[in-house]
Subunit: 198 residues, 2 copies
Amino acid sequence: MVHHMFDVIVEKMREHITLSDDDIALLSTCLEVRKTRKSQLLVEPPYPANAEFFVTKGCLRHYFLDENGVEHTTAFAIEGWWMTDLQSFFTGAPSKYHVEAMEEGEVIKLRKEGREELFTKIPALNIYFRILYQNAIISQNERILNVLSTTADERYLRFIKKYPALENRVPQYLIASYLGITPEFLSKVKTRIAAKKS
Amino acid sequence: MVHHMFDVIVEKMREHITLSDDDIALLSTCLEVRKTRKSQLLVEPPYPANAEFFVTKGCLRHYFLDENGVEHTTAFAIEGWWMTDLQSFFTGAPSKYHVEAMEEGEVIKLRKEGREELFTKIPALNIYFRILYQNAIISQNERILNVLSTTADERYLRFIKKYPALENRVPQYLIASYLGITPEFLSKVKTRIAAKKS
DNA sequence: AACGTCCAATGAACTATATTAAGTAAGCAT
DNA sequence: ATGCTTACTTAATATAGTTCATTGGACGTT
């Protein structure tokens, strides 16, 4: 078993499926390593999202830019996570969401064609990605419920509980954007919560 | 080609994949027709959701019952749609969401085991369900964005545009629950919108 | 050191939505 | 018919969240 730069991703896959050395060799031919700079766009409307990105270092952000120029952050991705604009990636339609690298870092890029090729040559990968998408459904489901049924205070508390790594890594105004509130109100939320603790 | 009670579902599948007569015969053995009464629960916490339901007649509702006894409606399904608590169905964990028939009607039930069997015997079905779940991701994505970034007026307008069939079929307080507002406020929203039109 | 930029924090005034309470109209059991 | 319940409306008041203007700190540039 050769040690190489795709170890992290292979490890993740092996949590769900078994892969032979041959599989891994084939896999390697379809993956591309990309360095990211701060604020670099990996998916940029209206160009279709033609790849998925696996984060090995750094942090990505998925956001929508509305008609008024306001950004709505819909998801974050850190080390070990996949991200792209699935809507565009699945349908081939122009992307409506941006995917942006928030830090210098590194991602592994899997293009659509490479992915298709892998699906036919390594059928087990279908299972891996199916599980990935199932988990996406589940977590989006929870997010919808959260935003419908809980107050901003509660949402903030759950956010820092679920993504403790992000609290001090991501600027406040982006956390606010993810929570669906203004930065000013997030500030108020935080002081209110801090007051309660004492 | 024999005409039978599963026609609707086969038709839907054939929008995406091709099915032989043999496939359909096999499919039939895994599907069960169920009449629904008003307020009947198809998925009831904490019992795991062990099947998916395809609506042939009537209307289903997916909702969460919170600690305060308040129901939060997260989705509707009408004729031609599939529904279950995917979270529980995928993981096998106890269901946290209710799936309720809102009217007398009819659903076609596909159990987990039947579904697995079909996946191995009719591989193309993997594609059909993959597309189904992709669409679920896309529509949940939109819903999250909507509820985070738009006002209640806007959400109501989009709702009646997207689901015109539901506006007069579902009680107002359930639409309010779906929009994440109180019935009282929905009432205000509606009069406000009506006033604007004139 | 002086300057500009970016971000976090704060307070005041404002808007959107919730809560409570009361009234109305329709459906249904007695 | 009578009353009971359930869904919807309206209005008064309260709370959650926004907007705008200001301040101060951290950082990079000249």
